[in-house]
């Protein structure tokens, strides 16, 4: 049985699943077909509750009734056919588009399902369930950019508020985020699974890939490459679950087993970074030593050193990062603040002004400027810049 937020429970009677689809998502299963079915039922309820037809014509009423009957009996081909006919008669029937898309999604007819959800989203712009389902369909058709856009918007609008929906949505979203190089955002999606102790090899693999900055989907990883990513994912999962001491041991074992593997130290550093930048420094430093040519490694090391107030150490790292990529804002900010703190106010000011020209609301740039003013005795200007930072936060 599935429960939608703010609604009464509904039972699988509403839509019979395909025979191969289990009725519920197992607590340890990877969100897949089962999760999909769960999502379907929830979204169905959400849509149907808001989509009321108005005095349909007799013919439409008859077809719609037969469509619902076919759907209840699990006769998906017939139900799809009847919903299609009904929409031909009454194209502004939102509920019909939803069921049509839903049934097509359940039948793996993804392009057709996308078409149905397109119609629905014209009638109900931004409807989170429709966005989520369209995003999942787009994932299956390989329209990954569209899928990412839809799933992100759906999550932002609350489509993932029900834990069992959240599994399938977040798992796909995490893969898509990693695919476009938004690794930290991807790792954040896995926090949900760690919080609920939802554990599965594919989840761990996905987390390991995201953490180690690999854009590939888990299904595309060759079998021989899986162990390191799964083990990294396991250590990351342990960390996200709050078991930091165990995670520390697991990561250290990995460092011993794979001493030259790129991005392992980075992964651990990135996890530590949000809690304790000073602890992350050691990991980022190890990564820089392993792969000194990677500009991003220098940048994150510089930034974490800056956050840890180790400005003189941050400077050379920021310089190395900027030499490889002069436009990287993280390196610029680390450089600007470190220059300000180490007495090079003139260079700092030039860099800060450059950053603020591109991004006037850069909090870190305003903070660095406040330091420049403070260090040069411009008390009132420093006060004004600190106030500007606080105003940005409001």
């Amino acid at each position: 049985m599935f429960v939608a937020p703010n609604s009464k429970p509904i039972t699988p009677r509403v839509l019979s699943p395909k025979p191969q689809i289990p009725e519920t998502i197992g607590s340890t299963g990877v969100p897949g077909a089962a999760g999909r079915f769960g999502l379907v039922l929830i979204l169905l309820l959400l849509i149907s509750s808001s989509a009321h037809s108005q005095q349909p014509a007799e013919q439409f009423d008859d077809i719609a009734s037969r469509a619902a009957g076919a759907r209840d009996q699990g006769n998906l081909p017939l139900a799809i056919e009847l919903y299609s006919q009904a929409e031909g008669l009454k194209p502004d029937w939102a509920e019909g588009w939803f069921y049509l898309g839903l049934l097509q999604y359940s039948s793996n007819a993804y392009p057709a399902a996308i078409e149905a959800f397109n119609h629905l989203l014209v009638l109900k712009p931004g409807a989170p369930p429709a966005l989520a389902l369209r995003g999942l369909c787009e994932f299956e058709t390989g329209a990954f950019d569209d899928s990412l856009r839809d799933l992100e918007e759906a999550v932002a609008k609350g489509a993932a508020n029900e834990p069992r929906n959240e599994q399938i949505i977040r798992y796909h979203l995490a893969q898509l985020l990693a695919r476009v190089g938004r690794f930290q955002d991807a790792v954040t999606q896995y926090q949900f699974f760690a919080d609920r102790r939802i554990d599965d090899p594919d989840l761990l693999l996905g987390l390991g890939l995201a953490g180690m900055r690999n854009r590939m989907f888990p299904k595309d990883i060759p079998a021989e490459d899986r162990p390191i990513y799964e083990a990294a994912g396991r250590a990351g999962y342990t960390f996200l679950a709050g078991l930091t001491q165990e995670a520390d041991s697991q990561f250290n074992q990995l460092f011993e087993r794979y001493p030259s593997a790129a991005n392992l130290h980075y992964f651990y550093g990135a996890l530590l970074f949000s809690h304790a930048p000073d602890l992350a420094v050691g990991q980022f430093r190890a990564e820089v030593n392993l792969v000194p040519s990677n500009t991003e490694n220098h940048a994150i090391l510089a930034y974490s050193l800056m956050l840890a107030s180790r400005y003189s150490e941050a400077l050379p790292e920021a310089e190395a990062a900027l030499a490889g990529n002069p436009g990287m804002e993280m390196s610029q900010l680390a450089m600007a603040r470190s220059l300000a703190e180490t007495g090079e106010e003139k260079r700092a000011t030039e860099l800060i002004n450059h950053i603020l020209k591109l991004d006037p609301s850069s909090r870190e740039a305003h903070m660095a400027l406040a330091v420049v003013y403070a260090r040069t005795g411009r008390r009132e200007d420093a006060y004004r810049e600190r106030a500007a930072c606080l105003a940005l936060e409001r």
Partner: protein, 372 residues
């Protein structure tokens, strides 16, 4: 007596000695340390570091005063906690749960019951010298106690911030579950040697903020000093300017950067004095007159003497005083005393029980909202 001997030794023995005098010096240190142990044990009933010498061997005066300083009591020792020893039976009812804190034979327990179920855990970590909150451990999880001791009421009340909790079981009613990171931060600031990287090292923990916690390198310096090597002297903290001091003290009291980056807002941030101070218009990074250390000596008990603080304000706002850039500084047109009573108002934490002095120094108008 031992403290006097330590001073005598320090004054009479040259810092760089060799041979027999060196050996005599070492014997003297050992002798003095035995005395100091007795003195410190009398003073505080605290466990001592197992190896001589101690910081007090040479820095007897500051060590003697620091015994009474709040930071030294940031975490109290079971069996020697003045709050619980003098309040052996504390009790309160909050949201249908009855909380009892009992102390007997130097051991304290924290019990919560809803009348049907009951849960008792030992109190091992007592945070705070006056207002006191307990960190409890159950099944591998750490909890911030739902109720704390408040001197103002001389009794228990809801721990600030925990009033929003809505416990459904006695375990939930125990208190707020603290994340691993928060636990590390709590112990790292309230105790010494409690944290090693990502690990809690409670087996090594020494309650309170001990010398080496602020004076990095103190242990090495002490060991070297025993060998007449005085080259490894910890960095002096007194010369820090206002910004450096705010950042140094802010490691625990929270820096301006930390509060801004963490998006902490509202009355609760009145606890973060370096942040509040740096919001003041009069804060000048390079002027020691507005440094934390200008008003507070961490080795001493906190002074509540307003006249003392008036002197600090008048160091800038007194007649003829100028800013560090030479510009004239305004004098207060209203008064020359009790400055902090107007310009640094007390702010009650949400939920009541305790008020903090707002270190955001400013002209406060009646009815002003709390400035973030």
């Amino acid at each position: 007596m031992s403290a006097q001997l330590a001073l005598l030794w320090r004054g009479s023995v040259p810092w760089k000695t060799t041979g027999a005098r060196n050996a005599v010096g070492r014997w003297l240190i050992a002798f003095i340390c035995i005395g100091l142990r007795v003195w410190e044990a009398d003073a505080q009933s605290r466990p001592m570091a197992s190896h001589a010498p101690t910081c007090a061997t040479c820095h007897a005066g500051v060590a003697a005063s620091y015994v009474h300083a709040p930071m030294h009591h940031a975490l109290e020792n079971p069996g020697a906690d003045p709050v619980l020893e003098t309040h052996p039976n504390l009790s309160t009812v909050q949201d249908g749960y009855t909380y009892t804190v009992q102390t007997k034979d130097g051991k304290s327990t924290y019990t919560v019951t809803d009348g049907k179920d009951s849960l008792t855990v030992p109190i091992r970590w007592m945070f705070g010298q006056h207002t006191q909150t307990w960190v409890l451990e159950k099944d591998g999880h750490f909890y911030e106690s739902m109720v704390s001791y408040f001197p103002r009421e001389d009794g228990l009340g809801t721990t600030p911030g925990d009033g929003r909790l809505n416990p459904h079981t006695v375990t939930e009613a125990l208190g707020r579950v603290i994340s691993t990171w928060e636990t590390l931060q709590c112990f790292n600031c309230h105790a010494t040697e409690a944290v090693d990287g990502t690990r809690l090292t409670l087996d090594r923990l020494r309650p309170g903020v001990e010398c080496e916690r602020c004076h990095a390198g103190a242990i090495e310096h002490m060991a070297d000093a025993a060998k007449d090597n005085f080259k490894t002297v910890p960095k002096k903290l007194r010369p820090m300017d206002a910004a450096e001091a705010a950042n140094f003290c802010g490691q625990c009291h929270r820096t301006w950067d930390t509060v801004v980056r963490s998006h902490w807002r509202g009355e609760v941030d009145v606890r973060f004095q370096p942040y509040r101070l740096m919001n003041s218009k009069c804060f000048a990074a390079n002027d020691r007159r507005i440094s934390c250390l200008a008003c507070h000596d961490p080795h001493q008990q906190l002074s509540h003497d307003e006249a003392l603080y008036d002197q600090k304000c008048l160091a800038c706002h007194g007649a003829g005083k100028t800013a560090i850039d030479g510009k004239a500084i305004k004098a207060c047109p209203v008064s020359k005393d009790k400055c902090s009573s107007c310009h640094m108002p007390k702010v009650e934490l949400p939920g009541g029980h305790v008020a903090f002095t707002d270190h955001f120094i400013r002209v406060v108008h009646p009815g002003d909202a709390y400035p973030n």
